[in-house]
């Protein structure tokens, strides 16, 4: 049996679950500069750190890489990628308090008209990377996210599928 809590409030939390989770992800992205990027080549997975920035609607994640890198080659071979962004602090409390978001999606270079718009978003988050980003040997990439997997409280996992 249940103590009376007013069923209305429960309904409200339920309805706003999507926006609440979206808000959580947005906050996590704002708090972090680096993401772990996972690519693969011929079945060999490969992970490395990249400086990332999300699009306003969270449907895309942007990063920049030199074209000579292994990750760029991997993406050329297979555009499917994964990204991990988390707020761990390397303390015991991480097991209960850290949150992590895994994204899966497809990477592709941003070119032409859209490039300026994306660069503005990216540099607003990472102004110190201005020279790196504008180097002709670098590529600006966008990951079109299909699904976010949000992990909290050690084992609680929610999926957010982009509509």
């Amino acid at each position: 049996m249940e103590q009376i809590t007013g069923s209305g409030s429960r309904r409200e939390t339920l309805l706003s679950e999507e926006s609440e989770l979206e808000h959580l992800i947005r906050e996590l992205f704002e708090s972090q500069k680096l993401a772990v990027l996972g690519t693969q080549n011929e079945g060999q997975p490969y992970a490395n750190l990249v400086a990332f920035a999300p699009s306003h609607d969270l449907k895309c994640l942007y990063f920049v890489t030199a074209r000579a890198t292994r990750k760029y080659a991997n993406i050329e071979a297979d555009a499917r990628v994964t990204v991990l962004i988390d707020n761990r602090s390397n303390q015991d409390s991480d097991f209960s308090q850290a949150a992590a978001v895994t994204a899966t999606g497809t990477a592709q270079e941003v070119v032409d008209a859209k490039r300026d718009e994306v660069l503005a978003i990216y540099l607003a988050k990472h102004p110190m990377l201005e020279d790196f980003v504008r180097s002709p040997s670098c590529a600006l990439l966008q990951i079109r996210v299909e699904t976010y997997y949000l992990v909290r409280r050690f084992q609680n996992v929610m999926e957010l599928h982009v509509k």
Binding site: G8, E18, F95
Partner: protein
């Protein structure tokens, strides 16, 4: 750093590390008041213990399964039980242990002591944790002192302390605990003094019992009570107690002892002594600058102060917080035993009578205004029983915990819920009902003619053994299993259920009598003589609590059902009027509309969904492990009684709360998932009986999971995985 301080070493700067209780004792010693000798173990020792052993991180994990503010009180019980077990199983790091051993051995050699909590922030004008943390009386020997220090630390995480902190919005993770180890003075009369009566500010209150204070504090002994005029100390009134027993120090811990005829006839204090205690309370008030709640004891003619703390300002406004209710979370054995008698012999029969009384009324024959009246009186009865449920039935469930705590302390099992196995081997009505259903299913299983004819909706002759068993079942349980479906569909619904049950082998109850007997004997063999008898009584109480925890739900379900029938009848009539949206209509509005044909009720407003770019799907949901095992299967979400009869063997029962009327499908289920959390809730108890994996405390379980979803229920870890 010095971890142990004697009272004269403590100064006012030490409050944060020694806690309010130690500081108060130190202040009184410095001002010449008579205080038993004591040592204070600073909170730093607690932090060192948590950090070195890793226990701190494990506790955090326990608590961050979900938002602290969302944790239900029953889940708090469980978390507290698990955490206490962690403290019991985690020894102090050896350097800490060695240094404390030598300190206590040299500074309190050979003494019987009291080990008390002294949490920083424990007692202030704004919050009083009085009695919320543990104290242990008559502890002997260094090793035992160290063990009890851990138990006092653990009491920082007791459910009642947690609930109180939750209510005050205090951060559990920042809490800490110092401990006072105080020489036990075996007082012959003891008591408490309130410098200011919270209910009558111009008065002071003195309460006193023979023997140690423990009996008064835990509520097992009724005290004599005096009200005094604060201005001049004159006694305004004296309320004598029905004096029977006193608490005295036993060979270990404490025990109750019958008072002599002379003691029974005379109050523990003379008027002069009442005046002395009053002066003591005033002295403390002067010293601390606010009215005090003082514990004291007389040893012969000598008056000792045991502790002093401010009376909280909120106390005056008659407990704006629910601390009084949290206190009911700690019940003494005596107290629970009399509660049991009341529940078994008065409340449950009364509830049953009332439900039968309602059941006899034919709602369809009532005029609208009569129906409104009937609905109102059922609502009233429902609300009254709900209050009783909170004030009497739930506290009685603490018999389970009391037994569990004693069992865990004595046996120290690695599974903190092992004690439930000893309690479960009792006759529960729901199990009896399920057994009878299984017997009928077995008849169908073994008789293809019977099975065929039932499948073709033709019932056997009335004198067929199956018909007789079915009739017998409906006679006995007709009322109890009278969910709306069973009532309207009658025997057919039961037959459909039985056919489904017959389609697979019988579900097994987990225990054979022999297994449980061995566990019981292994527990009891740890005690001898009088103590063993006490333990047998405690086990009996625990079993009664466990059984009633199940049965009270069934009886309350009968009342709820009668209310539901009246609501449905009423809504049916309102729906006929054509201009009223009856879904989600509040009972008060239903009554208004029944009484006035022109009344248009206010309809519930629905909040609009926020626009988002995502579709959310749960993948892995964290709750509480409530019955061990792992199983994968299809979900069947039960959100109304009518879903129950669609239940297929091997499905996973998913619901908001396992209702007593649902449990007859449990033998068909492969696992249980429930929104309500806790080990002691109905669903968890019944799942354990059948050995089914069960996870409870999944917020929004019934809305995040849909019928047909493929689930894994992990009853070890307390998680549910939804496969895509």
């Amino acid at each position: 750093m010095e971890l142990v301080l004697s009272l004269d070493q403590i100064g006012s700067d030490d409050r944060e590390s020694v806690g309010g209780k130690s500081l108060a004792l130190a202040t009184m010693v410095k001002n010449g008041m008579k205080v038993p000798e004591a040592l204070c173990l600073k909170a730093d020792a607690y932090h060192r213990y948590l950090e070195t052993t890793g226990l701190g991180a494990r506790i955090l994990m326990e608590f961050n399964r979900k938002d602290f503010a969302e944790v239900r009180w029953e889940e708090m019980w469980d978390a507290a039980l698990r955490i206490r077990n962690l403290f019991i199983h985690t020894p102090m790091p050896s350097d800490l242990r060695t240094s404390l051993q030598s300190v206590f051995a040299s500074r309190l050699p050979g003494e019987s002591v009291v080990v008390r909590s002294s949490a920083p922030g424990e007692d202030s004008l704004h919050a009083s944790f009085a009695g919320l943390h543990e104290s242990y009386v008559n502890v002997q020997g260094v090793d035992s002192i160290l063990e009890h220090i851990r138990l006092v630390w653990a009491s920082l995480w007791s459910d009642r302390a947690l609930l109180y902190r939750q209510e005050l919005g205090l951060d559990v993770e920042k809490s800490s605990m110092a401990v006072v180890v105080q020489k036990l003075v075996s007082g012959d009369r003891s008591g408490v003094a309130f410098g200011k009566n919270p209910n009558a500010p111009h008065q002071a209150v003195i309460e006193s019992v023979y023997g140690l204070n423990q009996g008064l504090v835990d509520g097992s002994i009724e005290p004599d009570r005096w009200l005094l005029d604060r201005k001049n100390g004159t006694i305004v009134s004296h309320f004598p107690a029905n004096r029977e027993k006193e608490m005295v120090a036993g060979p270990d811990s404490t025990r109750l002892q019958t008072l002599s005829a002379e003691q029974q006839a005379n109050p523990p204090l003379s008027e002069d002594e009442v005046a002395r205690v009053f002066r003591l309370a005033l002295q403390a008030e002067e010293l601390f600058g606010s009215p005090q709640d003082v514990e004291w004891t007389f040893v012969g003619g000598e008056l000792y102060v045991l502790q002093s703390r401010p009376i909280t300002s909120i106390g005056a406004e008659q407990e704006q917080d629910s601390r009084a209710w949290y206190f009911t979370l700690r019940r003494s054995f005596e107290n629970l035993r009399s509660l049991r008698t009341r529940v078994e012999s008065e409340l449950i029969p009364e509830m049953e009578r009332e439900a039968r009384f309602f059941a006899q009324r034919d709602l369809s024959n009532l005029a609208d205004n009569e129906l409104a009246q009937e609905l109102a009186s059922r609502q009233q009865a429902h609300d009254r029983w709900k209050d009783i449920y909170w004030s009497e039935f739930i506290p009685l469930a603490h018999g389970i915990r009391l037994f569990g705590q004693v069992y865990n302390d004595a046996v120290r099992p690695s599974d903190p819920y092992e004690f439930m196995d000893l309690l479960g081997a009792t006759e529960m009505m729901s199990l009896e009902r399920n057994r009878r259903l299984e017997n009928m299913a077995a008849m169908i299983r073994g008789d293809s003619n019977l099975s065929d004819s039932l499948s073709n909706l033709s019932n056997p002759q009335p004198d067929h053994p199956f018909s007789l068993a079915l009739e017998d079942f409906t006679d006995k349980f007709g009322d109890l299993s009278c969910s709306e479906e069973l009532c309207t569909q009658g025997g057919d619904a039961i037959v459909r259920l039985l056919l489904e049950m017959a389609s697979r082998p019988a579900a097994k109850e987990r225990f054979r009598a022999g297994d449980v007997e061995a566990l019981v004997e292994s527990f009891l063999s740890r005690f001898e003589g009088e103590k063993r008898e006490k333990m047998e009584e405690l086990l009996d109480l625990g079993r009664a609590s466990y059984r009633l925890r199940d049965d009270d739900n069934i009886y309350f379900g009968m009342i709820e059902n009668q209310l539901r029938l009246a609501i449905e009848e009423s809504k049916g009539r309102l729906a006929h009027r054509g201009n009223i949206e009856v879904d989600g209509l509040d009972p008060m509005e239903v009554i208004n509309a029944l009484n006035d044909p022109d009344y248009l009720p206010k309809t519930a407003t629905v909040t609009k969904v926020d626009e988002t770019n995502f579709e959310v799907r749960p993948r892995q949901l964290v709750g509480q492990p409530a019955s061990p095992g792992v199983v994968r299967g299809r979900a069947r979400v039960i959100d109304s009684p009518s879903n129950l009869f669609e239940f297929k063997a091997g499905e996973i029962l998913v619901c908001d709360a396992v209702d007593p009327n649902m449990t007859f499908v449990v033998p068909l289920a492969a696992g249980i998932v429930e929104r309500r959390g806790g080990m002691l809730i109905h669903g968890a108890i019944i799942a354990r009986e059948y050995g089914l994996p069960c996870v409870t405390g999944i917020p929004n379980a019934a809305s995040l999971i849909h019928t047909g979803d493929e689930l894994t229920v992990d009853g070890y870890l307390g998680i549910v995985v939804k496969h895509s």
